[in-house]
């Protein structure tokens, strides 16, 4: 609701305030205020204060939260198109990934959320995800057999871990440290900054850089809120989102380098397994896409992109 001409927008997310993606959202708030000449004010609630990523998306649909930042993986249960990002080895390299996210394909997927009450504004880079484990290093997919691996709350993330031989267990991010420590799961998978900043390395001493997926984060706005904004406010919000996206890529690159150095310094054993066995194990996931032709088409277009 408005008071004295300014509109407060509540943005909730699950990361700690030290995380580079949080800093990008702070920047987003500053830019939105600037571009809207002070009519929009973004209030950030970090650290799952207002719920996990899945719960926050529901609150956008309900209309009590204005915005949130979630992993594209969690979006899949709400908007099927996002499932394409959970396909392993989808991108050839970092440049291919950046090009796809900036392209027509990227914005098509962001738009797809509209009919589900959650409109995407911009992608934030989230690097590549790899396995980290408590007791057993992962050299080949065979090492995953019999291990419980925490996955994001997404069907394709679960299918991927199963295809590699692991046993997938969806658990909210904020509960993961305890789950690892208590042995509810034997390992998890994430990008270097998240592995480092969550301090999961205090429990997991092996990080196997198989880089199976590169699932971006998405900044979402509730259509309840979007529909009430004036045209210039929408433009201001979109512009601020794009600028924060550019800013975030710089932050991310340096955060990744720093996280890898710090992980090595605290004694995490970093493994660099060959990727061919992993890629071969997940091949059936692409063959199984016949059931979801929309995602299959998207993945073909992405693979075909130069």
């Amino acid at each position: 609701r408005e008071d004295s001409g300014t509109r407060r927008i509540k943005l909730a997310h699950g990361l700690a305030t030290s995380h580079p993606v949080h800093q990008a959202m702070v920047y987003f708030g500053e830019r939105a205020e600037l571009h809207s000449k002070g009519t929009l004010r973004v209030e950030i609630h970090p650290s799952e204060q207002l719920g996990t990523e899945r719960e926050a998306i529901e609150l956008l649909q309900i209309g009590s939260l204005g915005m949130t930042k979630v992993s594209a993986s969690v979006m899949e249960s709400f908007v099927p198109e996002y499932g394409v990002f959970s396909l392993p080895y989808l991108f050839r390299d970092d440049r291919h990934r950046a090009a796809v996210l900036d392209s027509e394909i990227g914005s098509e997927i962001l738009q797809a959320g509209r009919s589900y009450g959650v409109r995407g504004l911009v992608y934030y880079d989230a690097g590549s995800r790899s396995f980290y484990t408590r007791d057993r290093p992962i050299h080949t997919p065979a090492d995953l057999i019999g291990l419980k691996i925490r996955t994001q709350e997404s069907p394709s993330a679960i299918r991927m871990v199963r295809a590699l031989g692991g046993s997938a267990t969806p658990i909210a991010w904020g509960e993961l440290y305890t789950a690892l420590q208590q042995g509810v799961v034997d390992g998890a998978e994430n990008n270097p900054p998240s592995f480092y900043l969550s301090r999961h390395y205090e429990v997991c001493k092996f990080y196997s850089l198989d880089e199976h997926t590169a699932v971006p984060d998405v900044l979402l706005v509730s259509t309840h809120l979007w529909d009430r904004l004036t045209a210039s406010e929408r433009e201001a919000l979109q512009q601020a989102a794009l600028e924060s996206g550019q800013f975030q890529r710089e932050l991310w690159a340096s955060a990744t380098d720093e996280a890898m150095r710090s992980l090595e310094a605290v004694g995490v054993e970093i493994l660099r397994p060959g990727k061919s066995l992993f890629a071969a194990s997940v091949e059936p996931l692409y063959e199984g896409l016949s059931g979801s032709p929309g995602v299959a088409r998207l993945s073909e277009r992405i693979k075909a992109m130069r």
Partner: protein, 171 residues
């Protein structure tokens, strides 16, 4: 008639609670078995246990309203205890206010809010990650238990107003 219906509902809920509670124990024992004996930990037991707890908690709570087991503070009641009779209209009024609050809570948050939530999840086709069950089905325990609470509260209101009439007749 109402009492017969009430006993019927009590029995049904008790059976469901027995099934849910023993189901949750068996589910977790199965989780241990798959991990150690079959060497292939199950991916779904965690989600079953979590959803089971939501159902057990909400259904058990609604059954608890029938048995008036929920914790309360009730300073006014304690104050009146030694001063006026249990059947004094003031005490009866207090009980009705409390019952009214329970009814409002059940009707608004559980039934209306819960149904909104169920229809929203169904409209957007949300399914859980591991089991693939519709989240609307998981959330449907909210309006169901709300309706049960309303039923028990209605019966208690009838009972209390009976006492009110009895008091009026004597006085």
């Amino acid at each position: 008639m109402c009492q017969a219906l009430r006993r019927r509902l009590d029995r049904i809920l008790e059976s469901i609670l027995v099934i849910l509670m023993s189901g949750m124990v068996l589910n977790v024992l199965w989780q241990i078995t798959t991990r150690y004996l079959l060497g292939d930990p199950s991916s779904v037991t965690e989600e079953i246990a979590r959803f089971g707890l939501i159902w057990l908690g909400m259904l058990g709570a609604s059954y608890g309203f029938g048995r008036k087991v929920h914790l309360s503070v009730g300073l006014v009641d304690e104050f009146l205890d030694s001063r006026i009779a249990k059947d004094h209209p003031l005490r009866i009024g207090l009980e009705l206010v409390s019952l009214g609050c329970v009814g409002i809570f059940a009707a608004l948050i559980l039934v209306v809010g819960g149904s909104n939530l169920v229809s929203l999840s169904s409209e957007f086709n949300q399914v859980s990650a591991a089991l693939g069950v519709p989240l609307g089905a998981v959330y449907s325990v909210l309006p169901i238990s709300g309706a049960i609470v309303l039923f028990y509260s209605g019966l208690q209101a009838i009972e209390i107003s009976g006492r009110w009439r009895a008091w009026g007749g004597e006085g």
